[in-house]
């Protein structure tokens, strides 16, 4: 991975197609300047997110992970974001156990019209991750590594 002379950190965004990805588009159309660290993975719904994707991202060296979906009750698929919220709450509690600072992970809701809000979410989250600095690397045998082994056994990789 080419981490950009220390200026940028590796931040991954998992965005639902209908609200937050569109909100990020709205921010772009409005030319709302944002930090360049974030790389966005587009998904149909935050309900598609397996929390292990996020663990995997941290394991592989991501410095921060941001998830954003439709506001509760405004999900394109009715209730996908409710599933996401439960799963990600559990993940949040798990992160310190596996040695990841919970400040490196956040989930939020941004609608398709909220370009301004998207800008402020990205900006503040990027600042938050920069304040924590790069992710310390993991050696094999740590709890995070074991977690990944577990995942390899259960997921089709």
């Amino acid at each position: 991975m080419s981490v950009n002379e220390g200026k940028e950190l590796r931040i991954i965004g998992f965005l639902c197609n209908w609200c937050s990805y569109a909100g990020a588009d709205t921010a772009g159309v409005g030319r709302f300047a944002q930090p360049t660290d974030l790389r966005i993975v587009r998904l149909p719904c935050t309900g598609r997110i397996n929390p292990l994707f996020i663990v995997r991202a941290f394991m592989n060296g991501a410095d921060g992970v941001l998830v954003s979906g439709c506001h509760p009750r405004d999900c394109h698929y009715s209730e996908g974001n409710f599933y996401a919220r439960r799963r990600l709450e559990v993940l949040k509690a798990l992160l310190p156990v596996i040695g990841v600072d919970p400040g490196r992970f956040e989930y939020t809701w941004v609608s398709a019209s909220e370009g301004q809000r998207w800008r402020s979410v990205v900006t503040s989250f990027t600042e938050q991750v920069h304040a924590l600095g790069p992710m310390p690397s993991f050696k094999s045998g740590t709890s995070l590594d074991m977690c990944l082994c577990q995942m390899d056994q259960t997921q089709v990789l």
Partner: protein, 651 residues
Amino acid sequence: MNIGVFVCHCGSNIAGTVDTEAVAKTALTFREVVFATDTMYACSEPGQAGIVDAIKTYDLDGVVVASCTPRMHEATFRRTLERAGLNKYMFEMANIREHVSWIGKDKEANTRKAEELVHMAVEKLRRNDYLEAGEFDINKRVMVIGGGVAGIQAALDCADGGLEVILVEREPSIGGKMSKLDKTFPTVDCSSCILGPKMVDVAQHPNITMYTLSEIESVKGFVGNFDVTVRRKAAYVDWDTCTGCGECTTKCPSKKTPDRFNEFIGQTTAINIPFPQAIPKKASINAEACLKLTKDKCGACAKICPTEAIRFDQQDELVNEQVGAIIAATGYDLFDFTKYGEYGGGRYPDVITSMQYERLLSASGPTEGHIKRPSDGAEPKDIVFIQCVGSRDKSIGRPYCSGFCCMYTAKQTILTKDHMPDSQSYVFYMDIRAPGKNYDEFTRRAMEEYGARYIRGRVSAIQPKNGRYLVKGADTLLGEQVEIEADLIVLAVGAEAAKGANELAEKLRISYDPYGFFMEGHPKLKPVETNTAGIYLAGSCQGPKDIPSSVAQGDAAAAKVLALFSKDKLASDPQVSNVKLVRCIGCGKCESVCPFGAIEMIDFRGMPKASVVETVCQGCGVCTAACPQGAIQLSHFTDNQILAEVNTLCL
């Protein structure tokens, strides 16, 4: 696999802050990329021809286009691939415009980011599969929610086009805000004379079923096959037998019931027909005001009704309707004028809203068209109009322009002069916004021909003074304070999202903006579509609109529905979940989490297994994340594909 990468300049939109040539060069180093180039406008005719040529020349199996958002042109490029004989799902897009070039000026960082996004797209594409769309039947009935002028227009167009239409209206009568207006700008047409015949057409059209006094309870299903439950609220009158004779309203003793239709400046009876031209012309009982329903006394209406239509024990009724498309035309509500304390709305009886004034002007209104002050019934002489009440004001969360207030205020000054030739109108305004056909001429007429005095500035206070009101304001053109003694003050209240709009949007699974107006699919190119297939918008529910625009949007939404229904079957999206039977342990987790009931448990050689009903699956992927075995995978967004993207970024 042979992958081709096309990096779009989008003129200078992308190339201005991203080194597109460098991105294309780097892309050549990615695995299985055999061809990469930058191109001026990938979506243009020559741009697409270039992609088709490259597919043939380099024998490409998949294509990555790095350009704008896939929400814009994914469909365009998928068609390009089909033209070149490729499966259209062998395509990925890297969004290097909205997510890169437009949000940062650092060319180096942008270029690196663009390269990585292209790399992600390539890695995902390497794991894409050929997908084939199936077909499913559509129910060619349409539901129109909201019976204002936009909904009426949409319903009539659809019905004329041969579709069966269900029109649902919350109030007892269709007609919406337009039915409350006296005249319309800029022609000063009588509003009910032009709307009335359309309302009658709706009532008489054989293809239209009307549910008034009804609201949407729930919406299930998807384009082509929605299942809507409508709550028909109790009118306490059997509308099948009610003839609308109005006999009951003459005998009802509760004569001081607040009159919703007349914006609460008049009073009506507990059992009433909202206005003479109401469609359907049926009586309904206001349960809060009726003596029988509140105190179990009276029952005069039941005694007098010649058709014995009164039903005090009537309950709400739930009706199920299956439709293939839904048009939301729920309109707007008026700003609550009490939010500005300085104008005294709600405190001073003679400070009224523009809609209340409209009812005073109307011959069918509570004063039969004679302008009378609510306080003492006297005819006002000096009338002050204050514009932008609830528009263009950040401090109250209404930064937008409601668009039609300048025009209706001008109309009201003209009508005032017509009604009372010796009256004088004063208008406090911020700017005159009259950008329609004959609109500016109309405001000019109000000033020049009808002598309305326009004062550019805001009002700071209104104080009662000897039975009149002292209006204190600023004239910013003359740079001085002005004080006007007025008999009546009319506040030009702006439009805001209709009450309950958010809840309806959530039922329809469409988006709404921070003010509660429904979001169109694209602000320019999809003005009546929503992001949810099969749901369309008409009129002010999408944003404040005047009558011509609402009618035009009603027409447009109807055209969209007719186009959708011109096919007998719709192509299903093949991006649905699939079960690998060998991995499935039949735990049923996917079945329990699916929001659409698209998964059923089947018996496979004596073992329970999950099975996806492809036409019902909407492709959210909630099941995929729930499966402990990774056995159910959402096509096009499989675990492998998403992890490939994550790994590309991190490793």
